[in-house]
């Protein structure tokens, strides 16, 4: 009995730490949704692109040079997406924009592997992957780093959206494109800024995940882990992304560890979705999402 309880505690803690990493990817989705009303399916592929680029550059260059170059790449990418994809789609239904980001996802995955090759790569941030034992529970130093980074990022972003002029403008754009335009907010500039920020979040997530599991195409599938986090927390809530990530990380680990052996394993893949679906049945806009009232 005590063994099981301890095992469950261990699973919960390692799950919470992994969950924070999911939150990092989910954060990219939330940012773009909050600021432009676009559900960006390509966030996972942006993460992959950033991680692969960083891994490829860090072979020859010092890490900080690689980081600067990748930041440049992501900003350029944000501007290109704004100009080529979003500009012609202004004022079209949100689902059309969503499908366009599926197109972007395919394109970026092809681009990343076309430029930097398809073989898996390792990424070293210069942080030793040590395992600490705290009260009998093992915690990896990378996990702790990820948790700290995620925490700092969230504080900065919440401050940015709530307190700065740009942040408020971005929230206005998300509310209603046309209304924001009519009060003089430059819509396209706002979109460019948002995608650039999401690109930088993708670098952070990509760097941390790439160090953890190596950089390979399956990194793009991380987006599939972030999606249930999003709908659990609500797609327009930054705290929702963090708390959703923690819940998903902990419960999927518990489910895999405790229920998995009974049904043959592998339930980690879909358990988060099942949980999210159940929550949606009760709260259709997620735990922290804003309820949208429709009028005819």
């Amino acid at each position: 009995m005590w063994d099981t309880a301890f095992f469950a505690l261990e699973l919960t803690i390692s799950g919470l730490l992994v969950g924070l990493m999911y939150s990092l990817v989910a954060l990219g989705f939330v940012l773009i949704y909050k600021a432009s009303g676009v559900f960006n399916f390509a966030q996972g592929d942006m993460t992959f692109l950033a991680a692969l680029g960083l891994a490829a550059l860090s072979v020859k260059l010092p890490l900080w040079v690689g980081v600067i170059i990748i930041i440049g790449v992501m900003v350029a990418l944000a501007m290109a997406i704004e100009r080529i994809v979003l500009k012609p789609l202004v004022a079209r239904p949100p689902l059309v924009l969503f499908m366009a980001t599926i197109g972007i996802a395919f394109f970026l995955q092809g681009l990343a592997q076309g430029v930097w090759g398809t073989q898996p790569r390792g990424l070293n941030l210069g942080v030793a992957d040590e395992t600490y034992e705290i009260a009998g529970i093992f915690v990896s130093s990378l996990d702790i780093l990820g948790a700290i980074v995620a925490g700092v990022l969230v504080v900065v972003l919440v401050w940015f959206f709530q307190k700065t002029k740009t942040g408020r403008a971005l929230r206005a754009v998300s509310d209603d494109h046309e209304a924001a335009l009519s009060v003089g907010i430059p819509l396209r500039k706002a979109w460019g800024i948002t995608w650039a920020i999401a690109g930088i979040v993708a670098i952070v997530a990509g760097a941390l995940w790439g160090t953890r599991v190596g950089v390979q195409a399956s990194l793009a599938l991380l987006a599939l882990k972030a999606l249930p986090v999003l709908i659990l927390g609500g797609i327009d809530s930054i705290p929702g992304a963090i708390i959703g990530g923690l819940i998903i990380g902990a419960t999927e680990n518990l489910a895999e560890g405790l229920l998995g052996p009974m049904v043959g394993g592998g339930i980690k893949n879909f358990f988060p979705y099942l949980l999210a679906l159940i929550v949606l049945g009760v709260r259709p806009y997620g735990l922290f999402g804003r309820e949208i009232i429709e009028r005819v």
């Binding site: 499908m99 394109f107 249930p228 999210a276 259709p284």
Partner: protein, 359 residues
């Protein structure tokens, strides 16, 4: 001049409501059908039949199913490959294990998939848009897991099941033209059914939900009934398409064939072909079947004839080029031609209507 709409005098409501009101359309359709039934199987090579025409028919059916759901009823689904997998394994289990005749096995597969699909469609009553898209992703992942982990369905870890020799009432279906006929008959019947369905009360209800669901509910259209029905019909088509993949295309059910990427490819077919168009489903499927072949041929002909590019165009890059072109095309069609290739066909008709006069 060539596409004539004049001189058609309708005197009854029945003629006004015909499937093809113009004689020219009727002739055009008849020519296409005759071509598909009488010319293709006798003059196409084995390669053409097996690697172009049969997959084209199978994926047309899958795209048609998703088009009913997305293009007509306005509900996005990212789990369509999962529904095809349900149909595929249902066909194999019924046909291999219980000796159900092939047509009944395909119909049964469609029915089972319809039940599964409408179960996953239930959330569409409360949630919509992105939330719904993500919840259909859940369908894909849950179905994949169930198929790989339940031994009764897939027979174990590798989850590949071959179908035994095809046979229907003593007639052995083993050559390519015979398999082509099986697919063709099913696709033609189901496409005509879909075309008719869209003119009926049900089709009109779906379109009103697509255009504005709150308003359609106010005028008395039951959201529950029609949204679940849309998922059921759409997954029925996906299930039969999955059954055909096993019966006439691959000859086996393999979970690897029905992964998430296929869901996106089918969505791509619908977008490129034209959302809310029966013809568009076929054009989109044709386009997506031919695209990889075209890319392969053009790159290899460039590298053989002009410059030796075999060092530049490694197999890795070729596979990625396909992804990039696919992604770019989705964006291109959404931005420039939201009605897809089907709109192109209407443009041609408009042009031929007046030719050779400018207006």
């Amino acid at each position: 001049m060539f596409y004539r709409e004049t001189g058609v005098f309708k005197t009854t409501y029945a003629t006004d409501m015909e499937l093809f009101p113009l004689p020219l359309d009727k002739i055009g359709f008849a020519v296409c059908i005759l071509f598909a039934f009488l010319i293709v199987p006798f003059f196409a090579s084995h390669y053409l039949l097996v690697s172009i025409f049969i997959p084209f028919l199978v994926f047309s059916l899958a795209a048609l199913g998703l088009n009913i759901l997305t293009g007509y009823a306005g509900q996005l689904s990212l789990g369509h490959a999962g529904f095809m997998a349900v149909g595929a394994y249902a066909t194999v289990v019924m046909y291999n294990r219980y000796d159900v005749p092939l047509p009944l096995a395909l119909l049964g597969a469609g029915a089972i998939t319809a039940v599964v699909g409408s179960t996953f469609g239930l959330p569409s009553l409360r949630i919509k848009g992105f939330y719904l898209a993500v919840s259909t992703l859940a369908a894909q992942l849950i179905i994949e897991w169930v198929i790989t982990h339940v031994k009764w369905i897939s027979g174990g870890v590798y989850s590949t099941v071959d179908i035994r020799a095809l046979e229907f009432m003593g007639w052995k279906i083993d050559t390519a033209p015979e398999k082509y006929y099986v697919a063709l008959v099913i696709v033609v019947v189901m496409a005509l059914f879909a075309k008719n369905l869209m003119r009926s009360r049900i089709g009109r209800a779906w379109m009103s939900i697509r255009d504005m669901d709150v308003a359609s509910e106010i005028i008395g259209i039951s959201q529950f009934k029609y949204k679940v029905l849309a998922f059921a019909v759409s997954s029925f088509y996906a299930g039969v398409a999955g059954g055909l993949v096993v019966a006439v295309y691959y000859g086996s059910a393999n979970i690897e064939e029905f992964h998430l990427m296929l869901s996106f490819e089918i969505l791509g077919m619908v977008i490129i072909g034209g959302m809310g168009s029966i013809l568009g489903s076929f054009l989109g499927a044709a386009f997506m079947t031919l695209l990889p072949i075209f890319i392969d041929l053009s790159i290899s002909s460039i590298s053989h004839n002009i410059v030796d590019l075999s060092k530049v165009f490694t197999p890795d890059l070729m596979a990625n080029a396909k992804n990039m072109i696919f992604g770019a095309l989705i964006i291109f069609f959404l931005a420039v031609e939201p009605l897809g290739l089907a709109r192109l066909w209407n443009t041609i008709k408009d042009y031929l209507r007046l030719w050779p006069f400018p207006y």
